[in-house]
Each structure stands twice: as C-alpha cells, then as structure tokens.
C-alpha cells in the first residue's frame, strides 16, 4: 500500500503550494501515468485518510489518468501500444523502451479559494 505514502506526499506538496499562494486548497488536480505503479482507486481512498486533520481536510483529489505513449524509432511516430503493458508499436510491431508519457506522478494544478 504505497498509495498512502503517495497520498501523504500529495497533501504535503499541495499544502505548501497553497500556502505560497495564500488561499485554501479546495481541489488538487493530478496526473497519474498508466505506468506509474500507482492505482487510482487505492490512491483516492488513501487520500481520504491522508487529508484528515490537515489544511486539505475538505479538499477533493481529481485524478487525470495519462495513457502510455512510446516513441517508435522505426516509424518515427509517437504511438499508444495496444496492450497497456507491452511496449510494442501498434504500427510496426517494434518493441521500444522510449517512453514519451505514462510515468507521470505529479500535481499539475490546485483550485484555491481566497
């Protein structure tokens, strides 16, 4: 259950960012890559625990899932593999570890009430 560690970090990051911008954080928007190793549902439950007793006690966590995209050197294009966890270009069948997106684990925006 590393989702709890992740959720505690989200609270920490958002509290700090909210304080710097002088307001109450009402929602945290984050990007979660398909290959980040974090499960959305588990993270949402963990966030409910992690926010208790903090400045984010009422804040909502909004998760945007980011699909896996690889760059295929054979066809020179960014592609989304057919199978989520096989890094194979759907156009030419080549395997590549050149990951363009899908590893995201970041807070990208906050909704702040002043």
């Amino acid at each position: 259950m590393h989702e709890l560690s992740i959720a505690l970090s989200i609270v920490e990051v958002a509290e700090e960012a909210g304080r710097n911008r002088g307001g109450r954080v009402v929602a945290v928007h984050m990007k979660l890559g398909q290959l980040s190793g974090v499960v959305k549902e588990a993270l949402l439950s963990a966030f409910e625990l992690a926010r208790e007793g903090t400045e984010l006690a009422q804040a909502e966590l909004v998760i945007e899932e980011v699909p896996l995209v690889i760059h295929c050197s054979a066809c020179g294009a960014d592609q989304t593999p057919e199978s989520a966890f096989e890094l194979r270009c759907p156009a030419c069948g080549v395997l590549t570890n050149d990951i363009v997106s899908g590893r995201e684990l970041e807070v990208h925006a906050l909704e702040i009430e002043s």
Partner: protein, 229 residues
Amino acid sequence: MSTSPRLVQVRQRILKRNDEAARALRSRFQEAGVYVVSLVSSPGAGKTALLECVLRALRDRYRVAALVGDLATDNDARRLARAEVPVKQITTGTVCHLEAEMIASALEGWRLDELDFLFIENVGNLVCPSTFDLGEDLRLVLFSVTEGEDKPLKYPTIFNTADVAIITKVDLAAAVEFDAAEAHRSIQAVRPGMEIFHVSAKTGQGMEEWLSFLESQLLKAEKSFSRER
C-alpha cells in the same frame, strides 16, 4: 462571501522529497566512489540467498557492504552477516518499500569512501518499491523459475524501472518446466532491451557471468567517479 475558486497551475512531482533525497544520495555515492546496487523482487524470490553468494564472492577483492529492508525481524541481516561484511537491517514497520531517507539514515556513521560496492535489498514486494528512487546506480529485479514466466507482464512497472533482470533458482527449472524463452519474451515486452541473467545461488550456476557483469559495471562507473584511486 466567498468567491469561486481559482485554478492555479503548479506542476510538481509528487515524490519531490524522495527524489531530492535520492539525488543527494546519488551524489554522495558518486563522490565516495561506491557503486550501489539495489535488489527488488517478490517475497521469497531469493534476494537474500543471491546477495549472500555475491557478498562472499566479492569480499576478498572488493570492499562490500549491504543494507537490507524488511517489515519486521533482522533475520535477513543475520543471514547476510555470515558473509562477514558490514550489514545493517532497516526495519520499515508497516511500510512496504524503502525510501531514500531511510537509506540516508541507515548510512549514518558509515564511511562510504571505504566501500567499492553497496547492496540494498528492498522489502519483498513487486509493486511499491518501483516508485521510489534510492539513488542507486543499478536496480536489479529478480524472479524465480517457480513464479511463472508471465510475472513481468503482471508487474510491468517494477520491471520497467529496473535495469537488469535475474532469473533465480534455475537449478529448479526442469522440475517446474520453466520456459526460459517465454520468460524472456515477457521481460522484453515490458522492458525492451533489458539484460537478463540466469543464476542459482544454491549450485553457483550462472554466478560467474553475473559477477563479471557486476565488476564491469564498477569499472565503467569508476571512469566517471571523481575520486582518484
């Protein structure tokens, strides 16, 4: 009267704190000229057995040490200490993985510049450790022939974040009808280009090849280490 909330862009890595701690560790390791290898696998894949073999094989020619993470007990540290090298147990309590700050505090009082290799055995878990950078130079993922050839497909993230795969307990391969080609296909699907070793800590099979790879990695890294030897 409250106004409607405003949306503020922040773009911040959630694991910023761990990443910063890992970066600090990495530069300490670099400065000290120690090559750091971490091991991840499911519980029971044979991390401790492999590590005990590696420590014994390297201790006469190199200065080696190990950190070992477990939820509870210091059984693994006691096993590794039989290799007569410095070993420290990190007991994580309820935490299912190691984090960079745990490594930093476990290393307090250690002279890193007196080491050539430092091994970090993570908690047995194929999910959680994948997300946390420990500042290591090389991350090994182990899986044993008894676990099934499709293990990498079931746990793609940990395989994708590792640098090298080691298939362990190969002395049991025939008994469990292990299909090596299938296992390789699974690994390559989730981590194209990954180097794979086959090892038995029990019989020593494949150990020589694995150790010479490890030594070559140290040599390669030392070129970039700032310290003069």
